[in-house]
């Protein structure tokens, strides 16, 4: 039970840190709000799904109109504190969606990063290594360069680009049902390079969308809204649970694939599952936030120094620390000159990583 207890304690501590960071971050902005007001407004915003009903939606296929029952989720808000209406709006409509999205994205990237480093047994692995980010970039920049009218068009395109690219890399690297990790790494690198060329080409053709495209490529939470959070959170939670379920298998896989097989792990199936879950959780994050570097690389390294290499504790703590870190970084981004958060994470993350490297805290795996 030791590992379970340790995981629970560390997770509880990091959840507390995340909550504190979220509240503190919510006070920051052009209008000064005190922490009490913010706490009340945040609690007022909380809602949980309390019932599922069905309402009928209409879908048209040519001349036929089909009545389809659509689930209708009703939410209950348990808290009703007295907060000035403007303050409530600032918190609920402006600051909190962005902070919440930052937390979800950081959570996803932290978890995926911890898994990818273990999967590739490579300290430089991060969630983008199998081509997810470059695929998302192609999707997003293409939508900016050649706009199409559809809701969540950019996010959808980025998500699809990410998933297609990851699966492309996987299929290129797979032969006779086996996917050697080294081949996967190289295929990922080649696909990333190729897609980088596509992105550069699209940037040249993007005309007026150039600035928006570059902001997206740098990673930004500026355009976030509750819709993004509602789309990303369920995916992040779902795939996080999958990754956590395979955390012990991942530990054993670190011994090498043949030894993992000898210890009863269905190696190829486990690899496939870990890849799919990591690719999807990363795609969900990148689609709404752009390419935010270093969270998925540096947070797992730091957590490994603190809690050790066991993925059963490393994956959840990396996810929670990733959430906290990204909220913090985005607060700096918001408070400063409204620069993309990707610049902040890289500017803070890279020197810190170098510091760890020099201290020999981070070494080859």
């Amino acid at each position: 039970m030791r590992i379970l207890l340790r995981t629970a304690l560390w997770s509880a501590a990091l959840v507390a840190a995340l909550v504190g960071t979220v509240l503190a971050s919510t006070t920051v902005g052009s209008v000064n709000l005190d922490i009490v007001t913010v706490t009340r407004a945040v609690l007022n915003t909380l809602a949980y799904p309390s019932g599922v009903g069905l309402e009928s939606g209409q879908f048209g296929f040519g001349e036929r109109v089909v009545q389809v029952p659509v689930p209708d989720v009703s939410y209950t808000r348990p808290f009703g504190f007295e907060v000035a209406e403007t303050d409530q709006i600032i918190v609920q409509r402006i600051r909190l969606p962005r902070i919440a999205l930052g937390a979800v994205v950081g959570f996803a990237l932290g978890a995926a990063g911890a898994v990818m480093q273990g999967f590739f047994r490579n300290p430089m692995a991060d969630p983008s290594i199998i081509g997810v980010s470059s695929g998302a970039a192609v999707g997003a920049v293409a939508t900016i360069a050649f706009p199409v009218a559809m809701p969540f068009g950019l996010q959808t395109a980025a998500f699809l680009g990410a998933v297609l690219s990851a699966f492309g890399v996987y299929f290129i690297a797979t032969e006779d049902g086996r996917t050697p990790v080294a081949t996967l790494l190289l295929a990922g690198l080649a696909v990333q390079t190729f897609l980088g060329a596509v992105v550069s080409f699209l940037l040249l053709r993007s005309g007026e969308g150039l600035e928006e495209a570059i902001l997206w490529l740098m990673g930004t939470l500026r355009y976030s809204n509750w819709g993004d959070v509602e789309a990303t959170l369920p995916l992040a939670v779902l795939f996080f649970v999958v990754l956590l379920a395979y955390a012990r298998d991942l530990n054993v896989m670190l011994l090498g694939e043949e030894e993992a097989l000898a210890l009863g792990i269905e190696v190829e199936r486990t690899k496939r599952l870990l890849l799919v879950a990591s690719a999807l959780i990363t795609a969900a994050a990148v689609a709404v936030a752009g390419i935010i570097g270093f969270v998925g690389l540096i947070i797992p390294h730091i957590m490994r120094l603190i809690v050790g290499p066991d993925h059963r504790i490393l994956v959840p703590t990396s996810a929670l620390a990733g959430a906290t870190f990204l909220v913090l970084a985005d607060t700096v981004a918001r408070a400063g000159t409204a620069m993309p958060v990707g610049i902040v994470t890289a500017a803070v993350g890279a020197p810190f990583f170098l510091f760890l490297l020099r201290r020999r805290e981070v070494h080859a795996l």
Partner: protein, 394 residues
């Protein structure tokens, strides 16, 4: 418990295993020996189910490996690889705990501390439990991996060169532990490079060469089998280890081709040195008469030389004298090892054969009486060879 029937397996178009059949039962420690590239590792990988045979069956406790799930197979057989690289600084105890994986459901995160600690106690790794496994020495790490295999609670152990990276003391320690585990009713099948260790610890040896089983059976028989010398492409000599009493094999050095037959009379330190030097130089060497149990007599027996022995503390009987004289007359040159009570018996009667008297300084005395013909006295192996070479080339 481990059984192969007529297994063929090819890798990248090359036949690696060709009609291999074998079985290892509980309570048996079987060694898989053979030269590099014989297919030993491939055979072990086929038993683990990593490689699928092209033909034939691999079964564990009667069920085909290919029909077993990875976790069902790993509950039956645990594998100890040659060396394990563990990244990410897991502690020794965490690595041993991984051995419990096949016994757990996915969300069962309990530690099974009892089983894990018991396995570590058996392998004397309990004191290492909080050490990072990549900071351990090769011997310590191998014992940790063995503990992990024990934590799997398997019926069979597969070991791939378990002692290859170990110091001599740890080699013995690891193999003794495996023997103990076998005596408790497990089956063990180990690819072992070191033939002496294999012969010392295993109940049976199985010689694999070019993908085929060339010899099998008790250690003494397999070591002496001509197929073994053939497989390793070298001459071998099998002897008994004086301390362990088990069989021991020595790969004999390449000998130059020299024509000429030398008969050595007498044993003792000079006799054994003369036999060894002449044999290594490539001569056909015969010996006798020497007392039974004499060092020269045992060397000659190990090398398979024609030898006439006399019961200790007895004078040679007539038949023995005659046999020794025949050998001496057939020889091109006679070497008389000094200070042997039996030496004169033959030397005096084989006057027509040129002789060299060998005395390698094991005593200050030098007997010259009774020498007939042309005798040279040499005091070193090099001088002996020079003298014999000169004599024979004349």
């Amino acid at each position: 418990m481990i059984r192969l029937d007529d297994v063929d397996l090819s890798l990248a178009g090359t036949d690696v295993l060709d009609g291999v059949s074998l079985s290892v039962e509980r309570g048996e420690f079987v060694a898989l020996v053979g030269p590099n590239g014989a297919g030993k590792t491939t055979l072990l990988r086929a038993i683990q189910g990593i490689l699928d045979p092209d033909a034939g069956r691999v079964t564990l406790d009667g069920e085909r490996v290919s029909d077993l799930s990875a976790s069902a197979a790993s509950r039956r057989v645990a594998t100890v690889p040659q060396d394990t690289h563990v990244g990410f600084s897991f502690t020794a105890e965490q690595v041993v705990e991984m051995g419990r994986t096949p016994h757990r459901s996915r969300f069962d995160w309990t530690d099974d501390t009892g089983t894990v600690r018991a396995a570590m106690y058996r392998t004397e790794t309990l004191a290492l439990r909080d050490r990072a496994v990549d900071s351990l020495s090769g011997g310590e790490r191998q014992r940790v991996i063995l503990a992990r295999a024990l934590a799997q609670e398997p019926n069979g152990l597969l070991l791939d060169e378990p002692t290859a990276n170990l110091d001599i003391n740890h080699q013995i320690q690891v193999l003794e532990l495996v023997s103990d585990l076998v005596r408790e009713g497990r089956a063990a099948f180990a690819a072992i490079h070191d033939l002496d260790l294999a012969a010392r610890f295993c109940d049976r040896l199985l010689l694999l060469s070019d993908g085929r089983v060339r010899a099998r059976g008790p250690p003494g028989r397999v070591l002496a089998d001509p197929a073994l010398a053939d497989a390793f492409d070298t001459e071998t000599a099998v002897s008994r280890d004086r301390i362990t009493g088990t069989h021991r094999i020595t790969a004999l050095p390449d000998r130059p081709d020299r024509s000429g037959q030398v008969h050595v009379v007498g044993g003792g330190a000079s006799g054994v040195a003369a036999v060894r030097a002449l044999w290594r130089a490539g001569y056909e060497v015969t010996l006798g008469p020497v007392p039974e149990g004499d060092v020269a007599a045992s060397l000659a027996a190990d090398l398979g030389l024609r030898t006439v022995t006399v019961p200790a503390f007895e004078q040679p009987a007539d038949t023995e004298r005659a046999a020794a004289r025949d050998l001496a007359r057939a020889a091109d040159i006679l070497v008389v090892a000094d200070h042997d009570t039996t030496a004169g018996v033959v030397a005096d009667r084989a006057d027509e054969v040129p002789r060299v008297r060998a005395n390698f300084g094991d005593s200050g005395l030098r007997r010259t009486a009774g020498d007939g013909g042309e005798t040279r006295v040499v005091e070193s192996e090099a001088d002996l060879l020079t003298a014999v070479d000169t004599q024979i080339s004349n």
